[in-house]
Symmetry: C2
Subunit: 319 residues, 2 copies
Amino acid sequence: MPRGLGAAGQRTPDVVLAVDIGGTTVKGSVFVDGAEATAERVAPTCEGSSSSLDTVLAVLSTLDQSARSLGHEPTAIGAASPGFVDTRAGVVRGAVNLGWTELPLGSILATRFGVPAAVDHDARTAARAEMALRPDLRDFIFIPLGTGVSAAVVTAGEMVVGAHGQAGELGHMPVVPLGRACSCGELGCLEAYASASAVLTRYLTAGGSAGSAADVSRLVGEDRLADQVWSEAVQALAKAVVTLTAVLDTEEFIIGGGLAASGPILLDPLRRAVAEMLGWRSAPVISASRAGPRAGVLGAALLGRSAHLSSAHDDPGEQ
Amino acid sequence: MPRGLGAAGQRTPDVVLAVDIGGTTVKGSVFVDGAEATAERVAPTCEGSSSSLDTVLAVLSTLDQSARSLGHEPTAIGAASPGFVDTRAGVVRGAVNLGWTELPLGSILATRFGVPAAVDHDARTAARAEMALRPDLRDFIFIPLGTGVSAAVVTAGEMVVGAHGQAGELGHMPVVPLGRACSCGELGCLEAYASASAVLTRYLTAGGSAGSAADVSRLVGEDRLADQVWSEAVQALAKAVVTLTAVLDTEEFIIGGGLAASGPILLDPLRRAVAEMLGWRSAPVISASRAGPRAGVLGAALLGRSAHLSSAHDDPGEQ
């Protein structure tokens, strides 16, 4: 839904190339003055260090060409990345699912495309999109359930980034003693039970047949194996919600990522499990992401916009 | 160590009656211009609603008399309470270990003693004492292990109070599925394994003989039963530290409360367990409280001082 295209008069419009880098796909779109100007591009994220970066660069090149074909010179890039992201330095310190370590993504993108590039943690980026849609949110935690599991924690209206900018790795909360192996090398992490990829892998490994976690969710109530895998995911997630509510007194948990598409199949039993474990206090609201699968791209657009604004004094945005 | 006593010249000194209300004891002292002016008073907290409040009132009466016998008119009260404390309203919303529900402690104390009275959560109060001793602390979590287990979370230098002022109930993090019954009515909470009272009760129930959790800690390495109870407490606590580090990227965990007196018997295995579970990132610093068993009283003195300062415009502090 393009809005304000060409309506900026003399002013150079904000033209942001926004990418949401996931463990499964890289998604991107062009935003002009905050409004989406193209259809979303989606490419499968490849395995290994150089190839997943190649996918990101290829998606951005396509977006760059799309923007130019619409008559717009890009002014900034916003990128949401999984893993440990040092947003001030623009460096992805570590993203296990992508094979990235100490990748200076911000400067790589800025050099390649000649515009300022801002990089942030995927969950924090998506949470900013939720905050833009609901300015009332003050004490909430956004939990995207995709290839991995992470979290963006907001307390008293402030995003928690942590001592080293590494906050949000909820996926590595220990939930099952000596449980399933996680990509981080530990056993029994939340991510090994409640991520979309864990739900699918566990179902397939146990002998089930499905193409995605969404397929597994549709079998809940009909297939005993699906029921078990799903219930263990819900219980693991409920432990996380209960723990964080107890410690942070969180008002609302917003569930996003691929698994959130399952809607009430996920949220209803999660609400029940959390309420059961929280007999001693009021349970938090548990809701589905408003921005949905687009939260990362929309947040990346906000990120790119702020990168453009903050660089406007140093750089006119033209190359 | 009285300091500045009578040195204030014309100015009325701050005379704070500070109490730290615990599940086992109520401790209190008088502070004049921030320096402790009396020896600490300690009284056993009684069971049930009215009697634990009676103990608090009795300790404060003794402190009030002590202050007056030194020639000082009290100017404020600071009180640290366990449970859910709404510090703005001065109300203890619920403290299971004390049998308190919706107790307007602030107004009860202010009315009884005729001075402003501030009430806050015990862990947050103690954490303020730690911050006063170490102004470098920015991203840390203070965990007192006493009759219960709670936490004070500080991120980017700000104390997290939560959506309803109820942050900090770490004791009710679920750590053992269908585990031991907790005072909150749930099963398998951290508090049922890692509080000083849980350590003692579990040891006694299993057939051991000890008078306190400290006694149990001294048997570690010599007594198989003590080893087991202690190791389960450490593992449960390590899960909490790992979870909070993953989510909040906490720089340091400061362990306080009665169990912290065990020192390296607790901290060494805790550091090892946390480092083992955090192979995927750097482990946080784990240290013992600097203020030690006095953190609550020292924090309550700071609390009372700020109550006096904030009421100074409305009330000259004389009755």
